[in-house]
């Protein structure tokens, strides 16, 4: 399924990430996945939360720069070769993955991954056909 990921600009200094998590904690926003890409000066925090719109508004109120991006969340069998099957299907469909990361925890023997691609609808269709 496709959902909205929040990306937040973070300067590389002590306490920046904690400011975000504190804000989300105080407002009872549940984080489901988290990933950080960084350079020497700054990082991009990517978040999947249960209430993206509310969380984005909250962060903006506190002067964070937030961008909402549609991403695809897909189940991956939590066993050897599970991820490989999914990636094989994506490769066969000639879809470029810009980046991906895993969702915290697992349900019913399935792990979940988040994929950022140019055309999330198309990836969603490909992964649905896999019937995982």
């Amino acid at each position: 399924m496709t959902l909205q990921q929040l990306s937040v600009f973070l300067e590389n200094r002590a306490g920046q990430l904690c400011e975000v998590t504190e804000l989300l904690a105080e407002n009872h926003v549940d984080m489901q996945a988290l990933n950080i890409a960084e350079t020497a000066d700054y990082g991009v925090l990517r978040l999947i939360v249960d209430a993206p719109q509310r969380a984005a508004a909250l962060l903006r109120e506190h002067c964070f720069i937030v961008r909402e991006t549609p991403v695809v969340q897909a189940p991956v069998p939590d066993k050897p070769g599970g991820l490989n099957d999914v990636l094989r299907a994506i490769a066969d469909a000639e879809i470029d993955i810009e980046y991906m990361y895993s969702v915290l925890g697992q349900k019913n023997g399935l792990a979940y991954m988040v994929f950022r691609v140019a055309d999330p609808e198309r990836l969603d269709a490909v992964l649905t056909r896999l019937q995982l």
């Binding site: 990921q5 990306s7 600009f9 973070l10 300067e11 920046q16 890409a37 960084e38 350079t39 000066d41 700054y42 991009v44 990517r46 002067c63 964070f64 720069i65 937030v66 961008r67 991006t69 810009e98 980046y99 950022r116």
Partner: protein, 432 residues
């Protein structure tokens, strides 16, 4: 040892100097009135005509010229000679991105090079010397000016230009350079490199002519000790020709202004009032011998003091102190003029907000320039690749505007102090 390049001029009596200035000023004012509509308009606005200027004592009646005038008149508006008589341009940065272009006839180039030759001779240069010029060549006046001066003196001239330290040191050792011309910070850097490589006993330097940026007496002593040389200051600006407007003699206390070519005044930067000798104020130059690009009462924005006390070197020309600061916000980084407004122009063009901070520092004797910019929602992306692309775009746009590398640091919004009264745009950590 030859003490002067042009002794009759450099040691002329004050009366003689004044007579030259009077005659040349009157002629120059008439020349620009006839040839440059921009000047005529400025003079008319102030109600002055050439008849009112009978000598140096009337100089204060003329309107000032500022960097803004040079920008408004770009490129040909202040040109006072036919283009076919011009043989050269040099250029420096303007306040908001438009560059200042100065024109030279062959006569102007010759006079400029003579001024530089005076500086080289004052530093002990003769035709026996090997003059190692590592100021930048090109639009920047440093390289071409000292290069020309060195030719006039008859030194063997090494047109090294800036950078490539390995090559600099190789030539310095193999060709026995005796006079080094560069920015003081580059001299300090070369001195360190010479020591690191154990070349101290292999170099033959005896003097250095260092300018284009601020340096302290302490830095002078460090360089002198480290290289075993005498280090001399030189002053100039592209608008008035380039280096050689003023230079230090053996006294190493103030720079003699070439008064046969330039009339110097010190004014109150706020009121424009001319201040008496010995007062600290803004330096203003009138070029009385230039043909193509003569500037009348050009405000340098450099704050300094003039002194006509007799000098033990025998030169009679007035001395200026090292510039003690600026009456505008211009920075000199790696010898290059940088205006915060130029950086602002680039930021706005690149879609960033005009909220920024410039941090200048000196690391290992070399100036560093960092621009802190707040990230904006428009420029932000979930993709690190796209952000770094934008960042690279900003770095190259700054390089194109300033001519030097500026490190960009993207910071979170609202982290740069908003203006409370006066915004802190520049943090200069250099200890000069």
């Amino acid at each position: 040892m030859q003490r002067y390049y042009q002794s009759e001029i450099e040691t002329a009596s004050r009366e003689q100097l004044l007579a030259w200035q009077n005659e040349r000023l009157v002629k120059q004012v008439r020349h620009v009135w006839d040839k440059v509509p921009y000047y005529r308009k400025k003079m008319e606005e102030k109600g002055v005509s050439p008849e009112d200027i009978r000598g140096v004592e009337d100089l204060h009646k003329l309107p000032f010229l500022s960097k803004d005038d040079l920008r408004d008149a770009y490129p040909y508006g202040l040109l006072a000679a036919p283009l076919r008589d011009c043989v050269r341009i040099q250029s420096t940065s303007g306040t908001t991105g438009r560059r200042v272009v100065a024109f030279y006839t062959q006569h102007d180039v010759d006079l400029w090079e003579e001024c530089c030759a005076r500086a080289i001779v004052a530093a002990g240069g003769t035709e026996e010397d090997v003059c190692h010029v590592c100021y930048g060549y090109g639009l920047f006046t440093g390289g071409p000016g000292l290069n020309g001066g060195s030719h006039k003196v008859g030194c063997l001239t090494l047109p090294m230009s800036s950078g490539n330290t390995d090559r600099q040191l190789q030539f310095m050792v193999d060709l026995s350079s005796t006079i080094l011309c560069c920015t003081p910070s580059y001299a300090a850097y070369l001195a360190e490199s010479i020591h690191e490589r154990g070349l101290r006993d292999k170099i033959k330097l005896k003097a250095g002519i260092f300018g284009a940026e601020a340096w302290s007496e302490e830095m002078r002593r460090d360089i002198e000790r480290s290289l075993g040389i005498k280090a001399y200051d030189i002053y100039g600006l592209t608008e008035t020709s380039g280096p050689g407007v003023a230079f230090e003699c053996c006294e190493q206390a103030g720079m003699h202004i070439n008064e046969d070519h330039f009339i110097a005044e010190i004014i109150d930067p706020d009121t424009g009032e001319v201040l008496p000798e010995g007062s600290k104020g803004e330096l203003v130059f009138t070029s009385i011998t230039k043909e193509a690009f003569p500037l009348l009462r050009y405000r340098t924005r450099d704050i300094c003091v003039l002194s006509r006390k007799p000098c033990s070197c025998g030169r009679t020309h007035v001395k200026m102190s090292k510039p003690m600061g600026r009456s505008d916000d211009m920075l000199i980084v790696k010898g290059v003029n940088v205006f915060p407004s130029q950086i602002e122009t680039v930021l706005l063009e690149q879609g960033y907000q005009a909220n920024y901070q410039i941090v200048v520092d000196r690391v290992n004797s070399s100036d560093t320039l960092e621009v802190m910019v707040e990230m904006t929602a428009e420029n932000f992306s979930d993709s690190l690749g796209r952000i770094t692309e934008m960042e690279k775009g900003l770095v190259s746009a700054l390089k194109a505007m300033l001519g030097i590398y500026a490190r960009v640091r993207l910071v979170a919004p609202k982290t740069i102090t908003r203006s409370e009264g006066k915004a802190v745009r520049v943090i200069d950590k250099r200890k000069i």
